[in-house]
């Protein structure tokens, strides 16, 4: 699979090139956004990594322009450590994933695994939120892109009359799940309301980077996270 890495720091590019080539990918690099976009047009990679802070065209602009050319390509944003606001901006622009600098191996592996799985999906499913109860556990499955517009699909879940029968809640997220700023607000809202019901919540199926991001956003105070089994081994 072809991967394009865009970063203005030469050593970072070298490091990515070496690691990703050793992983078996065909790696292309670009030292700024302009060159990156030209290379994208030329080679049509399956996955793009782009640094967010770059002189000239920054990572968010790169993301926006790539989305115009190909809405389904996997674009992973590299953000500075703890740069929550930029990460949210990237999510608003439908970034596939994001990793923090300095990049941890697990974060890279997780982003690659998720991107490879999602690379085959050519159409994003519409957001859905299915809920059921089994042996006292409320099971809620999130699919598709969660945005502010999903409000109406969430409300029935909150008004569900089976809640009193549940002693805990499992939130599961499948591969197609993604979220934007308003979606995060909605998710926080749901979690707070369930907390009021004094039910412990376990979030399952999220990628390593999403967990890190949700933790940064403060969701770890409202729910526990379960790492994916295939990601624990690195």
């Amino acid at each position: 699979m072809k991967i394009l890495v865009i970063d203005d720091e030469k050593p970072t590019l070298s490091m990515f090139r070496l690691f990703l080539a050793a992983y078996g990918y065909e790696v292309f690099t670009a030292e700024d956004g302009e060159i990156g976009l030209a290379r994208f047009r030329e080679i049509r990679p399956g996955i793009v990594f782009t640094d967010i802070k770059m002189p000239g065209i920054d990572g968010l602009q790169v993301l926006g322009r790539i989305r115009e050319m190909d809405p389904h390509v996997q674009v992973i944003i590299i953000t500075g450590h703890g740069d929550l606001e930029k990460a949210i901006e990237a999510l608003d622009l439908d970034a596939s994933d994001f990793i923090n600098k300095p990049v941890e191996r697990q974060a890279l592996n997780s982003a690659l695994a998720r991107a490879e799985k999602r690379a085959g999906i050519t159409e994003s499913p519409e957001f859905s939120c299915n809920f059921s109860i089994k042996q006292g556990q409320a099971k809620i499955l999130f699919r598709g892109r969660l945005t502010g517009k999903a409000d109406k699909k969430i409300t029935p879940m909150l008004e569900w009359d089976e809640w009193p029968k549940a002693s805990k809640a499992d939130f599961s997220f499948d591969e197609s799940f993604s979220v934007d700023r308003e979606g995060i607000r909605l998710l926080m809202d749901i979690l707070m309301k369930i907390k009021l019901k004094k039910l412990p919540v376990m979030m399952k199926g999220l990628s390593y980077n999403y967990i890190r991001f949700f933790q940064m956003a403060g969701m770890d105070k409202l729910a526990e996270f379960q790492t994916r089994s295939e990601e624990t081994g690195g």
Binding site: P11, T12, A22, Y23, E104, G233, G234
Partner: protein
């Protein structure tokens, strides 16, 4: 030589001198691009030209499979090997295997081929025939492009194609290194067409028999065929049958080709037609194979007949019993289409299977596989892969193997452990995670089948894949343990040595690059090396040695790494191997940094980076980043040094281990130490010590961290802590004989002991460090700066040990200032009462630290301090300067003050003279030494017992240098080193910027020496001119004599030599002119005539003019 690479045989061809001339016209042309439609005579032209040249050649008949660069590489390597064997050349043509790199095989291949071609020292030709068979975007074109572009040797390339190949040859075209011959060039001219038909239609029995083709018929044929060689052949065949051109269409096309071919074909008897169409399944028509294939028919006479008629067939091997032929593609396509149209697919498959079986019997596995694939005979294919797979893996020829496996049904591969294994092997490293899964599946199947060889190999490549895709060390360790267990089980067995060697090698890689257990890795590599030596396998030996060297470099043991690299060089010979080269550069880089050779270090850094990047040598990357940080720290670029250290930390985080984090802290500690941020240095060094203490990557890094910590603690005034850390580090470096680290540690430990008042231990340690440094001829300590060197120097001096010569030579940048500061710091720390006594001890060091003064007396008088001219204003009047001049003129040393007073103030009464002397001496001293130290006083001008002297160690004169250089040149001349003598004479003459004390022409004491120096200059220039004459350097000789005459226009020998020089050069008038000029000057200045020798010379030259 293999038949595949011979120049095809060409018979009965029309000679085409106009095209030969074009190919031959420029010897600089290296690429011949011959473009033309099918059967346009491209191969015939190239083959006939190369045959005539009788030069070495490999002819590559390319088929679609060669679109893959690895396949083309294999074709070229085999061809070159064959050719070299034939010519008896002994060049190493080993195909380099990947050990530490990723997937940049194309670059490795290009480099291997280019290096090999570079070494071929005889004219060599490579022909790429049928280039149009390759895919347009084929990677082979990139490989071709690279070897063509990088070739600067004697290799010429002939590119034969129906269409313009996608090769970028722009630069070579601009350099006129490419000749293009296109369809039009190849088209037959009128004359060539006539020759063609004469050759074709004239009966050998009746030479000269007119076939009845006159100029009009020839013109008609030419119009219809447009000079197309294939068309001419078809017309000639048709004409032979019908003796008429009536059937000639208006224009020749591929349809016409089929039509005519049909005619020729239909004219053959049925058994021959059957033979011809069936042979279309073969790429090459090997008569030995065809004999077995057509049991009741002899193929040779049929093919010979076609060849004799030049009917779209070439003989590519002229073996006396079993020649080999190749059809022209158009003709083969024609036959093939007839075969397909007349035979059902099942029967076609039977033919291919039969061909496959024949090749299999002949052990020609590649050809057998080709036919089995077409026949869909998968079982037979699988049998070939199982038998030959390992051979292809060992020889690195995986492209063909990959192609075969790809043709097999997926299900078949899934259920066969060896097919699975070989499939993964064709995707080695580039298969990434998927390969890990495939190897693991194969391993389980091998285990169930109790196939030990398969198990050994699978585990080996699981470890390799795991290391490359950065699996956690716990996982890698489990596979290593499984590998070690199976090797233990087989201890004492002599079976599967190749597989066991591979497993030991990969266990070594797993330990070194996967789990970080370097001793474990080195031990595993040693086992692999032992086994590889046993089976005499240089490839395995090389790879295991490379991995072991990586381990030594990782552990910081550069000394052993260098030894290992020397051994590797004996294995590799001249064959290029990026891993070897990169490791060699990293060790050389370490060596250059330790020597302080930063220019060399910078070059090595750039080259290492390029190789690591180009060949994806990920395991060498951290070592390179570390060296980069050390380099920048050493040259004082601390920002870049810290950036590199930070980057290593990023790498460590991405890699997922803390080892490089420890190295990163150590590097930062070094930078802070050099920046004199001792608190920061201690902090980082402590972290480095903690991280590296937990690592298994060898003790060197750990003790280097302790060394840095010790040094940082010393400068941070934690003497007890420093003493402890340095003591431990010192013992370790002594144990491993690491001299440089020992020296640095001993010196700082010595200073620590001195501060702890343990003076005898201090002196012992300092001397131990310096002794070792002197014996190793170290010129630079990476950790010890000038200031600390000065501190060591002064400390030893105070202890009564003089090491000033060695230490002062080690100091380079502003060493005097640094040393002076240190001396003064020590003096000021001594109680006032004892100060004078200590000052005497330290005075030699103080004098050593002062800037040197140079006084120029030839030409304008001036004084330079540390090569910077002194502003004349600092003398505060004329008298101090005159005093200095007088000291110089009276001989510089021990001049009675009275003599100076008498010279400068002859009229003054004694008291006034004395007073003037004192005032002006003070001014002069102040001018030369504005801020003298209170304890040491003035140093340049000494006044002792009424005698004035200039300090000879601190003050020098240009005239002394002038005379010394003149003497030196004379000695060189005696030794016969004339060029060097001229250089030194030039330097001496360059010092003579004017006459001695030129501003004071009437200064009595200067008059004598002035004449003497001027005369010396004339001697120097005259001698220089004579040397130029001896060396036949006419222009320089004339110039030197002219300069002599400019200084002394009455120097008659100058005129004589100039006259001879000009006369010898045939410039008689000029020689006469010089004589007349000399005569005029002598008359005018001395009222004299030229001497007898000059006159005799004049007449002799004049006679020449008359003659």
């Amino acid at each position: 030589m293999s038949t595949r690479y011979s120049i095809p045989k060409v018979s009965d061809i029309v000679r085409r001198p106009r095209l030969f001339r074009r190919i031959d016209q420029d010897s600089a042309t290296r690429v011949f691009l011959i473009l033309g439609q099918a059967a346009q005579g491209k191969s015939t032209l190239a083959a006939s030209f190369l045959k005539q040249k009788n030069q070495a050649c490999i002819w590559c008949h390319l088929a679609h499979e060669a679109s893959d660069h690895t396949r083309l590489f294999e074709i070229l390597m085999t061809g070159i090997q064959d050719q070299l064997e034939q010519t008896g050349s002994l060049l190493e043509t080993q195909i380099p295997q990947t050990t530490l790199g990723t997937r940049e095989d194309l670059l490795r291949q290009a480099e291997t081929l280019s290096t090999l071609l570079e070494k071929i020292d005889f004219p060599f030709n490579i022909v790429f025939d049928d280039l149009e068979s390759l895919d347009t975007g084929a990677s082979s074109f990139i490989l071709m492009e690279k070897i063509i572009r990088e070739n600067s040797g004697r290799t010429r390339f002939f590119l034969l194609s129906r269409v313009m190949p996608p090769l970028n040859l722009r630069r070579l075209k601009m350099e006129n290194q490419v000749l293009v011959l296109d369809n039009e060039d190849l088209a037959f001219t009128n004359e060539e067409t006539l020759n063609f038909f004469q050759l074709k239609l004239n009966s050998p029995e009746k030479p000269g028999d007119n076939p009845g083709l006159g100029p009009l018929e020839i013109a008609k044929i030419l119009k219809v065929t447009e000079g197309w060689a294939g068309g001419l052949t078809l017309v000639s065949e048709s004409f032979k049958r019908f003796r008429s051109l009536e059937k000639l269409p208006d224009r020749m096309s591929s349809d016409a080709f089929s039509y005519f071919s049909q005619e020729i074909y239909q004219a053959q008897p049925p058994p021959i037609r059957n033979f011809l169409k069936k042979t279309s399944i073969f790429n090459h028509l090997d008569t030995r194979v065809l004999h077995a294939f057509f049991e009741d028919l002899d193929p040779t006479p049929i093919l010979e007949d076609l060849e004799n008629r030049n009917l779209f067939i070439q003989k590519i091997d002229s073996h006396p019993s079993w020649p080999i032929y190749k059809y022209n593609r158009l003709f083969r396509d024609f036959l093939k289409s007839d075969l397909v149209n007349t035979l059902e697919s099942e029967k076609l498959a039977v033919l291919d299977r039969k061909a496959g079986d024949i090749f299999w019997e002949m052990k020609r596995h590649e050809d057998a596989a080709h036919h089995y694939i077409r026949a869909g005979a998968f079982e037979q294919m699988a049998r070939i892969i199982r038998i030959k797979g390992t051979h292809y893996i060992v020889t690195g020829q995986t492209a063909g193997l990959a192609e075969w496996i790809e043709k097999l049904p997926e299900e078949m591969i899934r259920e066969d452990a060896w097919l699975l294994f070989f499939k993964a092997m064709t995707l080695r490293i580039k298969g990434g995670k998927k390969n890990l899964k495939t190897f693991s599946q194969a391993l389980e199947m091998f285990k169930n089948a109790r196939d030990h060889r398969g198990m050994i190999l699978s585990i080996a490549f699981i470890i390799e894949a795991g290391v490359f895709i950065r699996q956690p060390s716990s996982k890698i360790l489990k596979w290593i343990e499984r590998g070690e267990a199976i090797l233990r089980e087989r201890r004492g067995s002599h079976k599967y040595t190749w597989a066991r060697t591979i497993l030991w090698q990969h266990i070594g890689l797993g330990y070194i690059a996967g789990t970080g257990d370097i001793p474990g890795g080195i031990s595993a590599c040693q086992n692999a090396i032992l086994l590889a030596n046993g089976i005499k396998n240089p490839d395995l030996l090389l790879n295991a040695s490379i991995i072991m060297t990586l381990g030594l470099v990782e552990s910081g043991d550069f000394k052993r790494a260098r030894k290992m690299l020397d051994k590797i060089q004996t294995i590799t010979g001249h064959s290029p191997h990026p891993e070897y080269r990169a490791l060699k550069r990293i060790t050389s880089l370490d060596y250059a940094l330790k020597r302080g050779d930063f220019d060399q270090a910078r070059i090595l850094l750039e080259k290492s980076e390029a190789d690591i990047d180009k060949f994806g040598l990920i395991f060498l990357y951290p070592g390179f980043v570390e060296a980069r940080s050390v380099f920048f720290a050493s040259i004082g670029d601390y920002t870049q040094a810290l950036q590199a250290a930070d980057h290593l930390s990023d790498f460590s985080i991405l890699e997922g281990n803390d080892f490089y984090l420890g190295i990163s802290h150590r590097l930062k500690a070094t930078v802070f130490l050099l920046q004199e941020d001792y608190v920061g240095a201690v902090e980082e060094a402590k972290q480095a010590k903690n991280e590296l203490g937990l690592s298994k990557r060898g003790d060197i890094h750990y003790f280097l961290a302790r060394q840095i910590l010790g040094v940082s603690l010393f400068f941070n005034n934690d003497l007890e802590g420093a003493d402890q850390e340095l003591g431990q580090a010192l013992s370790y470096f002594k144990k491993i004989s690491s001299d440089l680290f020992f020296c640095e540690t001993a010196l700082i430990a010595g200073l620590t002991a001195w501060e702890l008042k343990d003076r005898s231990r201090a002196v012992l340690l300092l001397n131990q460090g310096l002794d070792k440094a002197e014996s190793n001829q170290y010129a630079y300590f990476p950790l010890i700066n000038e200031k600390t060197l000065a501190r060591i120097l002064v400390t030893l001096d105070l202890a009564g040990t003089d090491r000033s010569q060695f230490l002062f030579a080690m100091m380079s940048k502003e060493k005097g200032d640094v040393l002076r500061e240190e001396v003064l710091k020590n003096i000021s720390a001594i109680p006032a009462k004892k100060r004078a006594a200590q000052a005497n001890t330290l005075r030699p060091l103080y004098r050593m630290s002062l800037p040197k003064i140079r006084i120029n007396t030839l030409g304008e008088f001036n004084v330079e301090i540390n090569a910077v001219p002194l502003d004349p204003g600092v003398f505060g009047g004329l008298k101090p300067k005159s005093l200095l001049k007088a000291i110089i003129l009276y001989g510089l040393r021990e001049i009675p003050r009275e003599m100076l007073i008498e010279t400068l103030w002859p009229e003054a009464p004694p008291a006034a003279g004395e007073k003037n002397f004192k005032i002006n001496l003070h001014r002069l001293r102040k001018a030369l030494e504005p801020c003298p130290d209170k304890v040491f006083g003035y140093s340049y001008i000494l006044l002792k017992a009424g005698l004035v002297s200039l300090d000879p160690d601190l003050v020098s004169l240009d005239v002394d240098q002038f005379l010394t250089l003149a003497d030196q040149a004379g000695i060189l001349e005696e030794e016969g080193r004339l060029d060097r003598a001229i250089e030194i004479y030039d330097q001496a003459a360059g010092l003579y910027r004017g006459d001695y004390f030129t501003e004071d022409p009437y200064l009595e004491e200067a008059i004598g020496p002035r004449e003497s120096f001027r005369s010396k200059l004339i001697d120097i220039l005259g001698q220089k001119a004579r040397l130029h004459e001896d060396l036949d350097q006419w222009g320089q000789a004339v110039e030197a004599w002219n300069r002599v005459l400019k200084i002394d226009p009455l120097f008659e020998e100058g005129y004589q030599n100039l006259m001879i020089l000009h006369a010898d050069a045939g410039r008689i008038n000029k020689a006469m002119q010089i004589f007349r000029r000399g005569r005029t000057i002598l008359k005018k200045e001395l009222d004299a005539t030229p001497g007898a020798k000059t006159l005799a010379l004049y007449h002799k030259i004049k006679d020449l003019q008359t003659d």
